[in-house]
């Protein structure tokens, strides 16, 4: 019954989405009164998808094996949290989650958006309904999550053990919220292009959504990076895996959008450009979903292998992106360009930021899709990995990080002051970093050396916007920007330190043997069998000493029974100045165990930086929402915003 109720809710929601689309067409043809119902319809549609999703959670929580999806992806002996998380650890469930977030976001737009004009809002709701409709069709036709299995088997096939991890239980929802938050920016852009009302009011209505989506994407990427770091046991934090790129591409586009939308909100300029970015940002979310969900990739994440679904998703992607681009081509040229600005101005700085981010997005996009393209055309198989991405994106990212220090110092419209004088101290710090690294570590590779230099410069430059004024009277959004930019410097420092100073040791040891890695002495005390709820393992007990510090680490190799799989559970100990990372491998014939040990100085700064960036976004979001809520006179907006 529960599964059927979920399915019925889904069908009803799809019907309402269709109705919403028809009403939008009527609304655009000036029949206003009937179209006002769209707001309520959008809300009901959101509630219905929530009901459907709740039903899926219930069948998973109850391990109802008569539902095919539960049988294929769960088992009765799993810990409860992974039973529930299993609901979205698979293709159908995650697509249901996708469309649920999409519809709920539509409902919030209908409830909260009082800032845009009524016509644009209704057009945007229509666009959101069209998006949802495609994904409803996809679920109901090609991936029904509520399909039954008869007779019901006694137990299920289990969930991939790599996914049985608290980090991964919450990683996809975070990323999906980010992906789908961008759908609101897309719908608002499409709505505004339809009505021709692209102005700073629209930008201010769009901005909290972009900011919120961007914060979640930042968190999702940071958490995903940490997950890959400790769960895969390879000691790396970013592998340029296509699935990682699938989340990076929307983030790059959203980052560009976040900056250009400020120009539109504050100055009414960059109209066409910002609309284009809003379309691209959500297109990248759909490309990401397509890459992950169609199963066309060689990747640990690609567990759905079904060409029909891939084709369906690709068709949806082509229709939505194609339609948006055609709309843009028809309407974009007629948009009046807003307030002019000079070559050296905040606006120009943001344009350059956008250009560099777009180029990075372009090269990541090409690198990610090129192997698929080549294989489709010539049948030849190739892979594009870290060497490509580091070579093309690394230098661009460093250039961008240098410019990040300059842009926020520029005034809107035209800059007449000597901005570079303010950068003296940051520049000196950067030079000091070069000199120190050359003296102490002459053989350091060029990229980490540049990383240290830029990080030292940016750490100082990023806080300049708060200097020379009363920092406590600066708007929260400015604090947010400073914190996010400072976070870039922190992350960069972590990456440089990890690249330059990591010590690695790979060796075999018998119980009683001692190994050294970096400043640590590591004694293998014992290797013992152990067991969890649905796995057995061998566990090594390592005693690590550095000076007077003594810690015990217990890395494991786990064996899961359903499905039969092994995973390496690394044991990581965090110190203020780095992490000790240990992995135990297999025994050899003589009873010695393979051990892989790393000492990674300051590696945690990478994720601390990511968290700071997201926190900066959150501060800015709170500041913006506060203003939106308390603002009385909408026409005075841009005047105040000029000074932020």
């Amino acid at each position: 019954m529960i599964a059927e109720a979920g399915l019925a809710a889904l069908w009803l929601a799809a019907g309402l989405a269709a109705l919403q689309f028809v009403l939008m067409i009527l609304a655009l043809r000036s029949d206003f009164e009937a179209a006002r119902a769209m707001r309520s319809i959008a809300v009901v549609q959101g509630v219905l998808t929530l009901v459907a999703f709740a039903m899926l959670l219930i069948v998973f929580a109850r391990s109802d094996m008569s539902v095919l999806l539960v049988f294929e992806n769960s088992s009765a002996v799993k810990p409860f949290i992974y039973k529930v998380a299993g609901a979205w650890g698979n293709h159908e469930g995650s697509m249901l989650m996708w469309v649920t977030i999409l519809a709920v976001a539509g409902a919030f737009v209908a409830l909260l958006a009082h800032r845009t004009s009524e016509r644009t809002l209704l057009a945007a709701l229509g666009a959101q309904a069209v998006l949802a409709l495609g994904f409803y069709a996809f679920l109901l036709i090609a991936s029904n999550p509520f399909a039954r299995l008869w007779p019901a088997p006694p137990d299920g096939q289990g969930l991939n053990p790599l996914l049985q991890d608290p980090g991964l239980a919450f990683h996809p929802p975070t990323l999906y919220l980010g992906y789908v938050g961008l759908s609101v920016a897309f719908s608002l852009a499409v709505g505004a292009l339809l009505t021709g009302e692209v102005d700073s009011r629209l930008a201010r209505a769009m901005r909290p959504w972009v900011l919120g989506a961007w914060i979640l994407l930042t968190l999702g990427i940071t958490a995903g990076s940490y997950w890959a770091y400790y769960e895969l046991g390879w000691g790396g934090y970013w592998f340029w895996d296509p699935v990682e790129n699938a989340s990076l591409m929307p983030w790059l586009a959203a980052t560009a959008l976040l900056h250009s939308i400020n120009v539109l909100a504050a100055r009414g300029a960059l109209k066409a450009w910002t609309m284009m970015l809003a379309v691209i940002a959500f297109s990248m979310s759909m490309v990401g979903t397509f890459l992950v969900r169609s199963g066309i990739l060689t990747s640990v994440h690609a567990f759905a292998i079904d060409p029909q679904r891939g084709t369906f998703l690709l068709a949806l992607l082509a229709i939505y992106v194609g339609a948006a681009f055609i709309l843009f081509a028809v309407r974009g040229a007629s948009l009046k360009e807003g307030a002019p600005f000079e070559l050296i101005s905040r606006e120009s700085g943001l344009v350059i930021n956008n250009l560099i981010l777009s180029v990075v997005l372009g090269v990541v996009f090409v690198g990610t899709l090129y192997p698929l393209f080549v294989e489709a055309v010539s049948g030849e198989k190739l892979s594009v990995g870290a060497p490509y991405f580091n070579a093309v994106a690394g230098p661009l990212a460093l250039i961008l990080a240098v410019l990040v220090g300059i842009g926020p110092l520029l005034a809107w419209r035209r800059e007449r002051r000597q901005v570079f004088k303010r950068l003296t101290i940051p520049a000196l710090l950067g030079i000091t970093a070069v000199v120190i690294t050359i003296i102490l570590w002459p053989s350091m590779h060029i990229l980490p050396r540049l990383g240290f230099t830029v990080a030292a410069y940016l750490a100082a430059a990023s806080i300049l916007p708060l200097i020379g004024r009363n920092p406590f009277r600066a708007p929260l959004a400015t604090w947010g920007m400073v914190m996010a930019h400072f976070g870039i410097a922190v992350a960069l420092l972590g990456m440089a330190a990890n690249a330059a100073f990591t010590s690695e040791r790979l060796a075999i040891a018998k119980p009683g043997d001692t190994l050294t890695v970096g400043p640590w002495l590591i004694l293998l005390q014992d290797v013992t069998p152990t067991a969890g709820k649905n796995w057995t393992a061998v566990e090594a007990e390592l005693r690590a000493t550095r000076g007077s510090a003594v810690v015990t680490l217990k890395p494991q190799t786990r064996y899961f029974s359903d499905p039969p799989t092994e995973t390496n559970e690394s044991a990581i100990q965090t110190f203020w100045n780095g992490q000790l990372y240990t992995v135990v491998g297999k025994p050899d014939a003589s009873g010695a165990w393979q051990l892989r040990l790393w000492w990674k100085p300051f590696v945690t700064l990478i994720w601390a930086g990511g968290a700071l960036i997201a926190l900066g976004g959150a501060l800015a979001l709170v500041g913006r929402l506060w203003r939106l809520a308390w603002r009385r006179r909408p026409d005075a907006d841009w005047r105040r915003e000029r000074y932020t």
Binding site: N160, P161, L162, G233, W234, A269, L270, A272, W273, I296, L297, T298, V300, A302, F303, I305, K336, E337, G338, P340, F341, L343, V351, L355, S358, V359, L361, G362, V363, V366, G367, Y370, P371, E380, K381, L382, S383, V384, G385, P387, Y388, A391, V392, L506, A507, I508, P563, P564, T565, E566, T567, N568, V583, G585, K586, D588, A589, A592, Q594, R596
Partner: protein, 146 residues
Amino acid sequence: MKPKNQRLVLVVAAVVALIAAALLAMWGLRSQASYFYTPADIAAGKAHEGEAMRLGGMVERGSIQHLRDGVTIRFVVTDGKAKTPVIFRGIAPDLFREGSGAVAEGRLENGTFVADTILAKHDERYMPPQLGNLSAEHKAGKTLEK
């Protein structure tokens, strides 16, 4: 700048960015993309020594040898037509075992494939698409043996 000129400048900037991205990507792909080869490709001389590449196939039964340092292994990858010896230093991944599929990243040195990384399938259901065909051939081969 007049609004009209401003738009022109922006459009030109966007086009320049697009071209820059395309050129950069082409340069990067030409020098950095690594091709996927099977032992048969290597036997046919398609792969060059020292070039970054991926090698895919089945780990031949009885071929895994542990060297004396305990962390280096030698094994043979086969696709049923040809064989390539592989040397790898590190902890072999989960489910890397004889008779199952593996993809190795690395380069050819004097006819031996020196692997930096080994990607084995992560569970019994997951198979890299590049190995999907091989596995089908392998199964077909087994059926013939019977």
